[in-house]
Symmetry: C2
Subunit: 207 residues, 2 copies
C-alpha cells in the first residue's frame, strides 16, 4: 500500500528528466538527431532507459511535446498571477516572449519548432500537438483579456489573440534563425499593444 | 566552342530538377528524410545522380536552400511589377502570403522551415541562409516602400519591414501547423497595413 506512490513519483521524475534531455537533443541536433540512445547519453542514464519509458520514437516525441507544453503553460499561468502596470499592459507578455531568445528559452523555442514540423507530417503526433497549441492560445487569450478588462466581446478577444500570437510566433522564428532584432522589452510591449489595438479597430470596422 | 554552353545548361536544368525534388522530400519527410537516394527516387533519375551533382549532404541542403530563395525572390519581384490599388496597398503582399497555405506554396513553406532549423544548427549552412533571409527582407522592404510612396525615411521603412515580415513569418508557421485561420485576402491585407501603420506610429513617437 505504501510503496506504490513513491515508485510512481520516481517514474514521473525519471520521465521528466528524459523529456528535458529530449528537449536539449532536439534543440541541438534536430529531429534527425533524436534517438533513444542520444537521449540516454544526454540524460546521463544507463543505455535503454529512454526505450523503457518511451517504447517508440512517436511516444518519445509525444513525451517531449507534452513537457514543452507543460513549461509553456506554467510560464503563461505565472503571467496571469503577476500584477501589471496598466500603462504597459503587454509588458509581461513581451518579457516572456524575449525569454525565448537566449539560453534555456532558446532551447525550448528550437525544440518547439522541431516538434511542430514533426507534428505537421505525422498524424499520430498532429492531434496532441494541435491540442497543445490550442491550450497555449487559450492561455494567451486569458492573459490578453486580463490586460484589457474593458474588452469583453469574445469574438473581439479571439481576433486580438490571433493577431498577437501570430506576431509572437514570428518573433520566436526570428530567434530560432539567430536574428536578434527584437531585444527591447518596452518596444515589443508597445508593438504587441499596437497589434491588439489594430485588431480591435479592424474588428470594429467589420462587425 | 559550341558544345560547352548547352552542356552547362543541361547541368543547370538537372540541378534545378534535383533541388525541386529536394524541396518535396524536405516538405514530406523532413530534414530527417532528406538523403541523396530519396532525392533520386523523387526526381525519377538514376541512382547516384544527386550525389554526382551535390557531393555532400550540406551541398544538397545548400542547393535546395538556394532554389527556395530563387523562387521566393521571383515571387517578390513579380509583386513589384504589378499595378496596385492605392486603396488596398497591401493586397498583393497578402495574396502572396496566402499562397503559402496550400499546394505548392505549402510545400515550399514546409521546406523553408526545415532549412531554417537546419541552418540554425549548422554553421556551414547558417551563413548562406542568413544571406538569403536578408535578400527576402530587402525585397519585402522594396515592396513596402513602393506601397507607401510618401514614406522615404529609411529607418522608418526598416521598422515597418521588420514588423510586417515578422507577422508574415507567424502566418507561415500557422500554415505549416495546419492552422487555416488566415484565409481572407482582404482581411490580411488590412492587417498588414495596420501593422505597418502601428510601426510608423511607434517610430514617430520615439524619433
Amino acid at each position: 500500500m505504501t510503496t506504490s506512490p513513491p515508485r510512481k513519483r520516481d517514474g514521473d521524475q525519471r520521465r521528466r528528466e528524459l523529456c528535458d534531455a529530449g528537449i536539449q537533443v532536439l534543440a541541438e541536433h534536430g529531429s534527425r538527431g533524436l534517438t533513444h540512445a542520444q537521449v540516454d547519453r544526454c540524460a546521463k542514464v544507463p543505455d535503454g532507459t529512454a526505450s523503457y519509458y518511451f517504447r517508440t520514437r512517436a511516444a518519445l516525441l509525444r513525451g517531449v511535446g507534452d513537457r514543452v507544453a507543460q513549461i509553456d503553460v506554467a510560464n503563461l499561468r505565472s503571467l496571469a498571477d503577476r500584477p501589471h502596470d496598466p500603462r504597459a499592459p503587454f509588458a509581461h507578455l513581451a518579457e516572456l516572449t524575449l525569454m525565448q531568445a537566449h539560453g534555456r528559452g532558446l532551447m525550448l523555442n528550437r525544440a518547439r519548432h522541431e516538434l511542430l514540423l514533426n507534428a505537421a507530417r505525422d498524424p499520430e503526433l498532429s492531434g496532441p500537438a494541435q491540442g497543445l497549441v490550442s491550450e497555449v492560445i487559450a492561455l494567451t487569450r486569458t492573459a490578453i483579456a486580463r490586460l484589457q478588462p474593458r474588452i469583453t466581446d469574445p469574438d473581439l478577444l479571439d481576433a486580438q489573440t490571433s493577431a498577437v500570437t501570430t506576431f509572437i510566433a514570428g518573433v520566436f522564428l526570428r530567434f530560432v534563425a539567430g536574428d536578434q532584432t527584437f531585444n527591447d522589452p518596452g518596444k515589443l510591449s508597445r508593438q504587441l499593444q499596437a497589434i491588439a489595438e489594430a485588431a480591435a479597430h479592424e474588428y470594429g470596422e467589420n462587425n
